[in-house]
């Protein structure tokens, strides 16, 4: 008696890497994967039928061994930082220390209900807020936001509340054209109108262009520094001055903080609000799409607007302070993504000031090494030293090969491709951020692969166009996925 595994039901398809059926195709009625505590009380009177579901939720039925094998196989279809070079620009895919994975799972952290007063955890979060404030030169930090974009929204709501408190409602936010897409999306939730600011020929903010659009209707500018071209905004203090002079505030996207730790602090030259990405700069894992954490730092004048509650220290005791009349309110439940905060705290405690500074130095060194070793073949978007990431353009590639094909071909050489087609201001961008976590031998192997691919682009562009070949699936039909969305498995 053989069973159908749907599309995986072909001879040999259960081999090492070819096809893993879905849970639903694997399901067999009567299989059990659970072990429940025994029933030690009597059956109560039933609930009214009107409140009950008509049929059980159609979750699949598998034994534990099948579930474990299923997800183990799926994990093998993935590529992570621990698999090899993962130079995804703007994402800071640095090593995720293993000790941090252990300590966040201590029972005294992981099994604690949020309604109790846990002095150890409140102290940890309080101290993490102090560390982050020191690193970025801010006066106060909240760890409530769950991700970078959540932090951005928190920051922009603080700006909105600040202007409202001064009876100075402003309707616009200036956002440079190099910004992450989350910036305008976050501003929009605050009902701000977005004013795009074109960067100059060097890929930087042009203070004169900024002065021309900055007026009393502008609430803030959102700056990413180093920007998404991997360049330090040299005029950032002048830009801040222009904005401040006309009553606006400076929002600082800290996504690229990994380039500058110990070298420069945004709070020292004009940042009023800033968010951190703990899952970038502070080594917490990306989890295949989160959870992250996006703490927000503010200067003194914005502290009353921080989300509620804040953690206060009174003597040797830590407590949650809800009495915050000017607060923007809650951004979420409880105190934040504590499991992530624990990892970031452990990272900072292990690295110390010198370790963090060294990380930034090596991140910048790695990026510049790649820039120099590739720039004879691949045209850099800005021909000058970069910070933690370098951006190339597809302009001038042999046979007009698109950057997408280069990226897909890199998988065949065993690398995760860099970010492509971002930032939007560069035609066919490839944005490479190697981080400090990769030794020069890995970088050299990547350089060799990039140079080989360039040669392949000259000799046989079709080879690239059909890449990858050595992956569990080949290039996908993503248009079909969007035209005829199939977002759940069929009922078996």
């Amino acid at each position: 008696m053989s069973k159908s595994y749907g599309p995986c039901d072909t001879p040999g398809a259960r081999g090492l890497a070819l096809c893993e059926p879905t849970l639903f195709e694997r399901s067999t009625p009567g299989r059990v994967g659970y072990s429940l505590p025994r029933v030690d009380v009597n059956e109560p009177p039933p609930l009214p039928a009107e409140l009950l579901r008509d049929e059980p939720a159609a979750w699949p039925e598998l034994s534990e061994v099948e579930v474990v094998r299923h997800f183990t196989r799926l994990s093998q279809y993935n590529y992570g930082v621990d698999s090899g070079l993962y130079p995804l620009g703007s994402c800071t895919m640095k090593y995720n220390p293993k000790i941090n994975e252990d300590v966040c799972r201590l029972a005294g952290f992981a099994d604690v209900h949020p309604a109790v007063a846990h002095q150890g955890l409140l102290r940890l979060i309080y101290e993490l807020e102090q560390f982050l404030a020191e690193i970025a030169g801010m006066d106060a930090v909240t760890c409530q936001p769950a991700a970078g974009a959540h932090g951005e929204l928190t920051g922009m709501l603080i700006i909105r509340a600040y202007h409202a408190s001064r009876n100075d409602p402003r309707s616009k936010v200036i956002i440079p054209d190099t910004a992450h897409g989350t910036n305008p999306a976050s501003a929009a939730i605050c009902n701000y109108q977005v004013v795009p600011l074109k960067s100059n020929e060097q890929g930087l903010i042009d203070p004169d262009a900024l002065a021309a659009v900055m007026d009393e209707s502008v609430a803030a500018i959102m700056i990413t520094n180093p920007n998404t071209l991997g360049l330090f905004e040299e005029n950032v203090d002048r830009a801040a001055h222009i904005v401040h002079e006309r009553g606006g505030l400076v929002y600082y996207d800290g996504a690229n903080l990994n380039a500058i730790m110990g070298y420069t602090r945004p709070g020292d030259f004009g940042a009023d609000v800033l968010h951190f990405n703990l899952h970038k700069t502070f080594s917490t894992p990306h989890g295949g799409g989160g959870p992250g954490a996006g703490p927000v730092g503010v200067k003194k004048h914005l502290e009353p607007f921080l989300p509620r509650p804040v953690i206060r220290k009174k003597g040797r005791q830590y407590a949650l302070d809800f009495d915050r009349p000017q607060s923007i309110g809650r951004m979420r439940s409880w105190c934040g993504n504590v499991g992530v905060l624990i990892r970031a705290y452990a990272y900072i405690r292990e690295m110390g000031a010198a370790g963090l500074k060294r990380s930034s130095e090596l991140a910048v060194l790695n990026a510049n090494y790649l820039r120099v070793m590739l720039q004879d073949l691949y045209k850099v978007a800005q021909d000058r030293p970069c910070m933690h990431e370098v951006v190339f353009t597809e302009k001038g590639l042999p046979n007009d090969v698109p950057m997408l094909d280069v990226a897909k071909r890199l998988m065949d050489y065993g690398f995760h491709p860099p970010t492509i087609y971002f930032p939007l201001v560069v035609k066919g961008a490839m944005m490479i951020e190697p981080t400090e976590s990769f030794e020069p031998e890995s970088l050299d192997a990547f350089i060799t692969a990039m140079r080989d691919i360039y040669r392949e682009a000259q000799e046989n562009p079709a080879l690239l166009h059909h890449a990858p070949y050595n992956t569990v699936v080949r290039r996908l039909d993503e248009v079909r996925a969007a035209r005829n969305p199939k977002l759940t498995a069929d009922m078996e």
């Binding site: 659970y34 979750w59 039925e61 420069t264 504590v338 199939k486 759940t488």
Partner: protein, 442 residues
């Protein structure tokens, strides 16, 4: 430093290749006046052994006791297999699956997660996760306002107070007008008041079931009534395991179901990271926030999975996106997927039954020594009023090694001195009896 692989020799070789003599030269693009003077003021670095001990010392400060607290975060048994899967480096050290050819593991797992969530909630489509129940609910309200182009939002007073506050934060500048619908003597949203508050300008009716007071709302009746109105029925939940027994949102006419998925195999972790869930009907899929995984084929016609319908999202649509969400809670969705696969349809049903049976047992015992003011049916949480001040009772319970519940400081009229207590499969009959004895002895 063991996380930083470069030797001095490596650095010299790389600097030579670049054509400079010191790392500092790479930072000359930072103008001198913007440079930091001196070093960051952070504590001295710790070695691994010392760090482990320090972290254990902090963890050891956790209050000890059997947990009878719920109120949006629940202590359930987490099968050991889950963490073994979640700790596979290929899963937790990967980024959002932008490159599907080398991310099929994450993508298929999320596709399976979406499927199992829709089957639990009886809706057509679920996204790949949100941050938590509160922010998912706030996004659901914004989505309802977008689809109806209306601004009036009715909130049940028995909606989790943190969710109410988060909705207010998110929807403030979209011009939402909130109306709170009171709770009746059963502990349910007052249906008559809701009918009165509803008009043709209403974008959403937001009701949680089981609600913050533990009471199961009459969602079928509510759904039948709301079906005749333009307003979106947003069905919130904090305890998804309830739907192992109870009528799911989709089967009672909910347009959007949203809430917290922490009960699905995710540690309490002092409140985060949890799992935001948002599901809806296919007609509204293009207004949904968050990522979606879809099935397609590769160049050879083989089944494959990828992120899809991304024209809704911030990286394409920028200020016109349906949400600003980017990083979500993918690893928590994976935990939930493993959990749901292990439980299966029968395990979920038995678990839901066990939670309710133990709760009913505790209610019957506690009724001997305290007042149970609400008459509505419950799942695994309920409200009771001690004869002494609630804070004192909780302290006495803490002394006897119980985390006794959550004090409700007037969450609804008549509940000024009340406690919300939660009983899951992890609370044994012996513990329940001892808890009640502590209260009796006061």
């Amino acid at each position: 430093m063991r996380y930083l692989p470069h030797t001095d020799g490596d650095i010299v070789r790389m600097l030579t290749a670049i054509g400079i003599s010191s790392i500092d030269e790479l930072f000359t693009t930072i103008p001198e006046p913007l440079r930091m003077q001196g070093d960051l003021n952070l504590p001295e670095p710790m070695d691994e052994a010392y760090l482990r001990r320090h972290m254990s010392d902090l963890a050891d400060q956790a209050p000890a006791g059997s947990c009878f607290a719920g109120g949006g975060a629940y202590r359930h048994y987490i099968p050991a297999a889950i963490d073994h899967i979640v700790r596979r480096n290929e899963f937790y050290t990967a980024y959002t699956p932008y490159q599907p050819e080398i991310s099929q593991g994450t993508l298929q797992a999320i596709f399976e997660f979406q499927t199992m969530i829709t089957r639990l909630l009886a809706l057509d489509v679920a996204n790949a996760s949100m941050y938590d129940g509160a922010s998912a609910t706030a996004e659901a309200v914004l989505m309802a306002m977008r689809t109806t182009k209306l601004k009036r939002v009715l909130l049940s007073a028995a909606l989790h107070p943190q969710y109410q506050e988060t909705i207010a934060t998110y929807a403030k500048w979209a011009g939402a007008e909130f109306v709170t619908v009171p709770v009746n003597a059963e502990g349910r949203t007052d249906f008559a008041a809701l009918k009165k508050a509803l008009n043709n300008q209403t974008a959403a009716v937001v009701v949680q079931s089981p609600n913050y007071l533990g009471v199961i709302e009459d969602t079928r009746v509510l759904g039948r009534f709301l079906a005749r109105h333009k307003a979106k029925f947003v069905h919130v939940f904090t305890e998804p395991l309830a739907f192992g027994k109870l009528v799911p949102p989709g089967a009672c006419g909910a347009d959007i179901a949203c809430g917290e998925g922490q009960s699905l195999g995710i540690p309490l972790s002092f409140g985060g990271p949890g799992l935001g869930i948002l599901a809806t009907r296919l007609v509204d899929v293009r207004q949904m926030p968050g990522r979606l995984v879809g099935e397609t084929v590769d160049a050879e016609g083989k089944r494959a999975f990828c992120l899809t319908l991304s024209t809704r999202e911030q990286h394409i649509r920028r200020e016109k996106a349906t949400s600003n969400i980017c990083t979500n809670h993918g690893l928590m969705a994976l935990s939930a997927a493993v959990y749901m696969a292990l439980m299966g349809r029968e395990g979920l049903f038995q678990l839901a039954k066990l939670n309710r049976a133990k709760t009913e047992y505790m209610k019957s015992k506690l009724a001997e020594v305290a007042e149970l003011p609400l008459t509505g049916p419950t799942f695994n949480e309920f409200v009771w009023k001690p004869r002494q001040p609630a804070e004192e009772v909780l302290q006495a319970l803490a002394k006897a090694k119980f985390i006794g519940g959550v004090a409700l400081n007037g969450a609804a009229p008549g509940l000024e001195n009340a406690i919300l207590t939660c009983v899951t499969e992890l609370c044994s009959r012996k513990e329940i009896d001892r808890y009640v004895e502590v209260v009796r002895a006061l």
